[in-house]
């Protein structure tokens, strides 16, 4: 414990020094300094490099944000050569040396996105304008990710997205300065397909409840493509207001619709509520056309599983990563996260940790912080040992392609963290798609 303390102290002073310097220096000076630099927030004159971690600290996703922040702090620690190194030891190929990034010690600043585009952009701007971050990361919603990704492009600062699942993030709204390690709705659909076929057959009648905003729509579309490809019929797709709380008025029509499968395109609180209530309406005990009624939650997280409790048992979905994976990378990460904080990391924590390391490694590979060069290193980068098998950062859309986990709610958990059971690790080849299908334009390297 005292070790941690010491680390905190030392590192913090650096972080704080950057903080204080930016705060105390007359702004006119800073402004001129920017103009003189060849790119935004060039850290070449400083002994530290500052990263920004922009996560939801208030609002519905605050717990997820807190977990992301833990992962970021751990990543910074490992980059600076402290702690056990975590996935730095398993990442291949890796040029990370444990001496910071390009020899500069890593400092960080944090901010609150409030899961609102405006607040997230304001927070990111603060990091860029005041704290001088060279890269920022985090987030727990696609709307926010897309909004700050646009900002990243405008300001010329790399954004390594946290949890964002909408196809748009690396589809029609993709940006040269934005990168996503997390998987997306399209990949969820592709991964779920074979499992659905195996478990539920090819003759089903599906009813969608969809959160009425962009992420919900893209997921509905992707899952529909998959299920209709299997031969399923889509009985109806109903949009529900975000944060409705009580979904009963959307659930009762399902009873008489003749549908035998409910697909919940909800996330977070909405999903916890709609699932809890759907189960109360006896949907899981129902028989339709001689088939057991099934519920599917295409995107899942352990925190959501905690909130939904018993109701989630046996329900299928996909997830980006789970702490119970036994590969070396996952084990190394769970070990260092678990011993630091006393509980396992969430998928949001995992993706944030990986993103931080990937960025740092790209800088090392490029030999500079100059964003266009760093971006070129990330584009098309192939790596392994980060918990999802062999992974590629596709150059065409900045989307990572890797294995996707199909999971179900654990019927017999062996501990309070053992909520998700891995049904299948769907290999990367099955979830790949053509980058051009979603359109969009990455934009220029130089801004």
């Amino acid at each position: 414990m005292s070790d941690t303390k010491n680390w905190n102290r030392r590192d913090v002073m650096k972080a704080g020094a950057a903080f204080a310097a930016a705060g105390a220096a007359p702004m006119f000076f800073t402004k001129d300094a920017w103009a003189a630099k060849d790119f935004m927030n060039n850290p070449s004159n400083s002994s530290t490099v500052t990263l920004g971690f922009n996560v939801p600290q208030t609002g519905a996703y605050a717990d997820e944000g807190a977990d992301e922040l833990r992962a970021f702090k751990l990543a910074v620690k490992h980059l600076n050569g402290e702690g056990d190194g975590g996935m730095m030891n398993t990442m291949k190929p890796s040029m990370l040396k444990g001496n910071g990034i390009l020899g500069k010690k890593v400092a960080y600043v944090t901010g609150d996105t409030q899961t609102k585009s405006d607040a997230a952009r304001a927070s990111a701007k603060r990091m860029i304008e005041k704290d001088g971050v060279i890269m920022f990361s985090g987030g727990s919603s696609s709307g926010v990710a897309i909004a700050v990704q646009g900002l990243a492009q405008e300001m010329g600062v790399v954004f390594m997205a946290g949890l964002t699942h909408s196809n748009d993030t690396t589809g029609k709204d993709k940006r040269r300065y934005g990168f996503r390690h997390f998987f997306n709705a399209k990949m969820s659909g592709s991964a779920l397909g074979p499992v659905l076929k195996e478990r539920m057959g090819t003759d089903r009648n599906a009813y969608h409840l969809t959160a009425d905003y962009t992420w919900g729509w893209t997921q509905e579309q992707s899952i529909k493509e998959t299920t209709e490809g299997l031969g399923w019929n889509t009985a109806k797709a109903v949009k529900t207001p975000v944060g409705a709380g009580d979904f009963s008025q959307y659930i009762t029509p399902i009873l008489n619709s003749g549908a035998d499968t409910l697909i919940l395109n909800h996330y977070g609180k909405d999903m916890i509520n709609s699932l809890t209530q759907a189960v109360q309406f006896g949907l899981r005990d129902k028989q339709v056309n001689g088939k057991d009624f099934q519920i599917i939650v295409p995107l899942y997280s352990r925190l959501m599983a905690q909130g939904a409790g018993e109701n989630l048992k046996g329900i299928l979905g996909t997830t980006n990563w789970n702490w119970a994976l036994t590969d070396n990378g996952s084990q190394a990460f769970v070990k260092s996260f678990g011993s630091e904080y006393g509980f396992p990391p969430s998928q949001a924590a995992h993706t944030c940790y990986v993103q931080t390391l990937l960025y740092a490694n790209a800088c090392e590979m490029a030999g500079t912080f100059y964003p266009p060069e760093v971006i070129k290193q990330l584009e098309g980068f192939n790596f392994d040992g980060m918990g999802n098998g062999k992974t590629e950062y596709r150059a065409a859309d900045h989307q990572c392609f890797k294995d996707v986990l199909v999971v179900e709610g654990n019927q017999n958990p062996s501990s309070q963290f053992d909520l998700l059971k891995i049904v299948k690790e769907v290999p990367r080849s099955q979830v790949e798609y053509d980058a051009s299908i979603f359109g969009g334009d990455l934009g220029p390297y130089e801004v």
Binding site: L255, E310, G338, S414, S415
Partner: protein, 338 residues
């Protein structure tokens, strides 16, 4: 037909929750003249009484999962189950209904403390100040809850035997697809009982008479030399209990999280105002009316004609009612019009 019947039930159920929250809000407003933005927080605290009671009952012996070495993972076995076996499990299963034992005294205490400690100093202050101070209080309460329980919703299931649905269709000789969750039926019944109890209390007791008189004309009652202050305190306590019970009973329907009060706050104000400021009957009527309309607006047939109508119906109805009936459904002249 079935669909309409079910939506009616949904509406009544929602309406029950709206009415319960609005009832306490309007009671406090009508007697104390205080606009209480912390009322939603009371609802949330009620739900967290259920959570706390469940936590209390499930204090567990922790059996370490030895296969996990990086951190301590436990399989939790509640002491109640260890000590009392099946009876213990049953008690835990019934934790939400049983938490009423904790909710009533806790909410009463919170209500009394809130009134004595803060609200009473704001009787004579402007509504703007009341809003600011109670909103501040709501944020503080919310953040304190988050500090202890986190931001993630916490599952608080209904007892096992009533966690499913009742075959209403079979009872009524209608379609077997016509089912409705037991707990929601209980919630509706419960809200009707509470509403009736509050009305009976106000109609039949001398205390209630004074309170009603106070809602009509506060200064008059004060002039009669009745100790109004003390009565106000009790009214506030009562409102807190009603809101708390509404929240507690809602926990199995909506897994509680620290922010749930804010989500209901705006809605409950709309309900109170549509009902007419200071009118208890109006609040209840508006609660049910808005609940039912909201449910019907969500029918697919209606949504296909007017997309998005389910998202705005409450506000739309509020506008229409306030324009046709200047003081809501049953409001009196001169109450909060300046």
């Amino acid at each position: 037909m079935d669909a309409i019947f079910l939506q009616l039930l949904n509406g009544l159920d929602k309406g029950g929750a709206y009415a319960l929250i609005a009832l306490g809000l309007t009671l406090v407003f009508g007697t104390l003249g205080v606009v209480n933005f912390a009322h939603g927080a009371l609802f949330m605290l009620g739900a967290f009484c259920a959570v706390s009671f469940q936590k209390l009952l499930t204090i567990s012996m922790k059996v370490r999962d030895e296969s996990i070495t990086f951190f301590e993972a436990y399989k939790e076995v509640p002491y109640l189950e260890i000590w009392f076996g099946d009876f213990g499990s049953m008690i835990i299963d019934w934790s939400v209904p049983l938490s009423i034992l904790l909710t009533i005294p806790t909410m009463l205490l919170i209500g009394l403390a809130m009134e004595r400690g803060l609200i009473k100093h704001f009787y004579k202050r402007t509504h703007a100040e009341q809003i600011l101070v109670t909103f501040g209080l709501a944020i503080v309460v919310q953040e304190v809850i988050r500090h202890f329980y986190g931001a993630n919703p916490i599952p608080t299931p209904a007892p096992d035997i009533i966690s499913g649905s009742a075959p209403i269709g079979l009872w009524l000789g209608l379609s077997e697809n016509l089912v409705y969750p037991w707990w929601r039926i209980i919630y509706l019944t419960f809200s009707i009982i509470i509403i009736t109890a509050v009305f009976a209390f106000l109609q039949l007791t001398t205390f209630g008479m004074v309170v009603r008189a106070g809602m009509q004309d506060r200064e008059m009652v004060a002039m009669l030399g009745i100790n109004v202050e003390r009565k106000f305190t009790i009214v506030f306590g009562m409102a807190a209990v009603v809101a708390g019970l509404a929240g507690m009973m809602y926990a199995p329907i909506l897994p509680p999280d620290y922010h749930m009060g804010m989500d209901f706050l705006v809605l409950s104000f709309v309900v109170v105002v549509v009902g007419g400021m200071g009118s208890l009957r109006g609040a209840v009527a508006a609660g049910f009316l808005l609940g039912i309309l909201q449910s019907f607006a969500s029918l697919n047939e209606i949504k296909s004609i007017l997309p998005g109508i389910d998202q705005i119906i409450i506000y739309l109805v509020a506008v229409v009612i306030l324009l046709t009936r200047p003081r809501g459904l049953m409001g009196r002249k001169g109450v909060m019009e300046d």
